[in-house]
């Protein structure tokens, strides 16, 4: 079962609640055909019209419905960004946005289907919750939390993931403890297994979260020493601001790893893109070792 399958099954169950309304723009419409037959007024496929998809969600929310809006990540978040800003936030209403595709799930499709900047864009908005599950079994609980809330939530699904689920990882969960004084690596969602593999022989504590917003600031302050590494499966540096603000009152060094900004203009597989962006275990290990040893150099050498 993929994350998308888990989402479709959960969302369909939530239609038992008369407030739930699923809004689609053709993507995944087939998967909701049966649900649409049962609830024709609450499974809405507007066709390939993403501005309308978000506008409709805003209007539904204004009447008290709880919209679940679903499409491919670049079309859901980037194409209709002003609708997200104005038709939801400015109206003072919320929706649950659920994307598939992630940064480069379909690398062979090329740039048009890549969305490494989606979380950064959502992060320009106020008060959003962002869930980035690392396993299909994490999806149902995250969707339930989102649908039962009133505020806006972005649920970012991917074909990538980890071998095991951590269903309750909103706050930072330590998955490898390297003891006092070790650097802290925070892995967000699907990158956890590769991050763990990368630092297997390094003195690095690894904490996992599938909820980068609101970021677990308290957990971070508890776990972090002087060196923090954040590995995110989307645009590198997306959480730099949050981590820097959380640790503003203490000296620290921060390494932010994620998807690079440059357009590579290459197809290939998601695994290829991991490698090209340094997000495979070998690339992550290189970056972490450089970071930790450069810290040693900085401490060991007089300032020039």
């Amino acid at each position: 079962m993929t994350m998308r399958d888990a989402f479709v099954a959960s969302a369909t169950r939530f239609l038992d609640d008369p407030r739930t309304t699923i809004v689609l723009a053709d993507i995944s419409a087939d998967a909701f055909t049966e649900a649409g037959r049962r609830y024709p007024d609450r499974v809405v496929n507007v066709g390939i019209r993403e501005q309308l998809m978000i506008g409709v969600a805003g209007g539904l929310a204004l009447t008290g419905q709880r919209p679940i809006v679903h499409s491919y990540a670049p079309f859901l978040v980037e194409r209709a960004y002003e609708q997200i800003k104005l038709d939801l936030d400015h109206q003072g209403v919320g929706a649950v946005l659920v994307s598939i595709g992630a940064s480069y799930d379909r690398a062979e499709a090329g740039r048009t289907h890549l969305a490494p900047a989606d979380v950064a864009l959502i992060d320009t908005l106020d008060g959003w919750t962002v869930h980035v599950p690392g396993h299909p079994d994490e999806v149902p609980d995250l969707l339930r939390d989102a649908v039962c809330g009133r505020h806006s939530t972005y649920l970012r699904l991917s074909m990538r993931g980890n071998a095991r689920a951590y269903p309750q990882a909103g706050g930072l969960q330590v998955v490898r403890d390297a003891g006092p004084g070790a650097a802290l690596l925070v892995a967000v969602g699907p990158v956890r297994d590769d991050a763990l593999a990368a630092v297997a022989d390094l003195p690095v504590t690894v904490a996992y979260t599938h909820r980068p917003r609101p970021f677990d600031v308290t957990g971070l302050r508890t776990l972090a020493g002087g060196e923090v590494i954040v590995v995110e499966p989307y645009l590198a540096g997306t959480s730099t601001r949050v981590v820097a603000e959380a640790l503003a009152d203490r000296p620290h060094r921060l390494l932010s790893l994620g998807v690079g900004r440059a357009e590579l203009r290459r197809y290939g597989t998601a695994g290829d893109h991991d490698r090209w962006h340094g997000l495979d275990p070998a690339g992550l290990r290189r970056a972490v070792v450089d970071f930790l040893t450069s810290g040693d150099r900085t401490r060991g050498e007089p300032a020039r």
Binding site: Q51, L52, G55, G59, L60, L62
Partner: protein
């Protein structure tokens, strides 16, 4: 009753109850013609069509009026004041640091305002969603009215909404297009044809004739979405200050 005043544009007679609040809001400033082009539609809606009062602004079964062309706000505020939705003294400080009334309306600040608008092309999609929400709740009484401008139709988002609402027969929705000929490239064949070809019923009327507006605004057939094109034709060419043609008399005005 209508009362001519010094604030009216040449040849135009404003609805009587709107005169004082609009003058208070204007506070001696110059108003673009587009302010006056929309007042009659606002007034006819709130005076004769919409089933909403200051006491029912939160009633789920109220009619909804969504101002999509958010810059057409002066007449809107004036009508809301005339009808008791907002206190008249709010009109004295429009745009002030503590004012609830700004150059574009904010639904969270103004009682009776259904949407915040200003960026063009958002109201009709919100209206489609509102009509869908009411339908999902089994509310067949309330109707959703969205006011747009002919220049606003340049925004492609409107055409997403027009096509979808027509194709699915979204019967609870009425779009009103105030046509003051301000679209830079025009709408050859007329604004109404854009709706009709997508399966809407459509009527084109004089945007200052209250009886014609009322007939058009209540002319939906209950099976399809309905469009009313309210044409802003100045009353008398001789009254225009520069003798211009109908298409020139209004300005595209206060677009953001």
């Amino acid at each position: 009753m209508t009362t001519p005043t010094a604030t009216r544009p040449p040849g135009r007679v404003l609805p009587g109850p709107v005169v004082a609040p609009l003058e208070r809001l204007r506070a001696g400033r110059h108003y673009d013609a587009n302010v006056y082009s929309t007042v009659d539609v606002h007034w006819t809606l709130y005076d004769r069509v919409l089933r909403v009062t200051p006491a029912t602004v939160d009633d789920p079964d109220r009619d909804r009026f969504l101002l999509s062309k958010g810059h057409a706000v002066a007449g809107y505020y004036a009508v809301l004041a005339a009808k008791g939705f907002i206190p008249a003294d709010w009109l004295d400080d429009e745009g002030g640091p503590d004012s609830r009334l700004g150059g574009h309306p904010d639904r969270t600040l103004v009682p009776g305002v259904e949407i915040g608008s200003g960026s063009l092309g958002h109201g009709l999609g919100l209206g489609v969603g509102t009509a869908l929400g009411l339908r999902a709740q089994g509310r067949t009484t309330p109707r959703v009215y969205v006011l747009l401008g002919d220049a606003e139709l340049d925004e492609g988002s409107n055409h997403e909404a027009i096509a979808y609402a027509g194709a699915t027969g979204l019967a609870g929705l009425t779009a009103i297009v105030l046509d003051n000929a301000s679209a830079s490239h025009g709408w050859p064949g007329g604004v109404a044809s854009r709706f009709a070809v997508n399966g809407w019923t459509a009527a084109t009327v004089d945007g200052h004739d209250h009886d014609a507006l009322y007939a058009a605004l209540t002319g939906h057939d209950g099976h399809r979405p309905h469009a009313v094109v309210a044409v802003d034709t100045p009353a008398h060419p001789a009254d225009r200050p520069d003798g211009s043609t109908a298409g020139d008399v209004t300005t595209p005005g206060s677009r953001p």
